[in-house]
Amino acid sequence: MSDDVAKFLDADIPDPTDFPADAPGLRQLDEALRCTMCRELFEAPVTVNCPHGHCFCSMCIRTALATKDECPLCRHAIREVHLRRNTAVEDAVRAWGLARTFVLQVLREKEEAKAATVASKYFSGKPKSKKRRRTPELSSDDEVVEVGERNVSHSLKGHTSSSSSGVVPCPICNKSVPMQNINNHIDQGCPSPKDADLDVLLSPSSKSKGKQKQEWSKLFQGGGAGSATTGSKKGKGKSRGADQDADPLPKIAYDTVTQKRLREILEELDLPTTGDRATMSARHSRWVNMFNANLDASPSQRKSVKQLMLELRRWEEAEEKKKTRAKLDAKDFDSGQYQKDNKTTFARLVEAAKPKAPKKSQSPHEGPPASSLSPSDGDSIAPPRRTEVVTIED
């Protein structure tokens, strides 16, 4: 593998592959506690009303249901109103988020100890090696585990507006946390960061251009969005923070409301009213999903309204970028030239795809050999491995 691409593998993104394939159950455990859509540890997990009781992050399934009313894993018809919180999984995820780092640390120490014993056999072991085991060295492994878990945002710096304001998404709970607090945040089991911490980043960002941005920073500056400060202003929308007994927001059939009414609704929710009808509709529906998904988390894990607003703003910025980015022009694309330019890449890929020991079992129809990750039970919540993909298609 070329070094250029290896950087993606070294990226600090926690993944089941962080665990050795031969450690019994660990990869499977890490995988089982991840949403099969986003592959993050479950955030506000919910069970859907398919016969298998499949489980997803609340936000993931709500987003998916906007496109299609079916379970993404088994294609049974399901409905958003039937989503149920899965607190058992949520508790398991929270505990595993903490245990994960520890387990990796223990595994690494064991690995180092083994390596040291082997080394001492060959090089007439020195007592020095014993000490070495305990010292956390910065081997490449360490980077994945120790530095890795915490600096998730690093590798993605260029792509988020967050890093500029010193905020990173927590690798465990995915909440926005000021960079300097991230270690504490993880150590304390991912409490919701206090609004005060977020004020740093909500204050008018360094380069707020355009009406939309001004509008956003106005909202944050006023502090009116925080659940604590709202209280009595005008609407019910205001007082609904991330309170324990908050009601979910209703959906709107956007075709049936006037633009004026849409603007009023956004205003009631303290959301910006900029943009055309499509932008406002998209903003509102995203907000409803985020707000309702947040209610599927247990109260201690919920994000504040301020935090949700920040995420909404980030999402909108990303959407803007998506619109403006030039797409690969299909007409001008010369596949011969492209292959020439990427000759070495493809040569490497051909090498990688080459069946190691040409066996008959390579045929996809006989089903590839069961990998160590494949669950024995087809109904389990593990993501569709290759064998399952074929069945789902039918």
């Binding site: 070329s2 970028k321 690969l328 795809a353 069946p355 390579q362 129809h365 074929v390």
Partner: protein
């Protein structure tokens, strides 16, 4: 959030690298994780056997809610592949599920080579031969298999030769 898509793609890559299904491989472009190159080996016991077919996958920020665009770079002769390399595959269109990853996509395409669906043809000639004249179908497919082994330069040379002979005969 824009990073969700990129994080997911990195995980797809980790999984594909650590536990590669036989006969497929893929990796993002070093300067753009939204663009992937991939290779699929023609499945054993099919006319495509031993072919090394190259593909390009283009993702956008809506992945995995929406499927990527996938096209063959290698010339294909298959009932469900258009002349420009684009595929007619249900899971890349209306049967997409956000739980699929790159490994699942490539494996599905591999099994499409195994099991063409002549009822929704993207290449009418291939579909007809597949139904009515298997011998000729196999011959045409084998030609693309041999072509897939060539270097892009060799390939270009061959193409110009072909067009030259064609123009001299007409």
């Amino acid at each position: 959030m824009s990073t969700n898509c990129r994080r997911r793609l990195i995980r797809d890559f980790k999984r594909l690298s650590s536990d590669p299904p036989g006969g497929i491989s893929g990796s993002p472009c070093p300067d753009n994780i939204m663009l992937w190159n991939a290779v699929i080996f023609g499945p054993v016991d099919t006319p495509f056997e031993d072919g090394t077919f190259k593909l390009l996958l283009t993702f956008d920020e809506s992945y995995p809610t929406k499927p990527p665009t996938v096209k063959f770079l290698s010339r294909m002769f298959h009932p469900n592949v258009y002349a420009n390399g684009e595929l007619c595959l249900d899971i890349l269109q209306n049967r997409w599920s956000p739980t699929y990853d790159v490994a699942a996509i490539l494996t599905s395409i591999q099994s499409l080579l195994h099991d063409p669906n002549p009822n929704s043809p993207a290449n009418a000639e291939a579909a007809q031969l597949y139904r009515e004249n298997m011998k000729e179908y196999v011959r045409r497919v084998r030609a693309t298999v041999e072509e897939s082994w060539l270097d892009p330069e060799e390939h270009e040379k061959m193409e110009t030769e072909v067009t030259e002979t064609q123009s001299t005969t007409t």
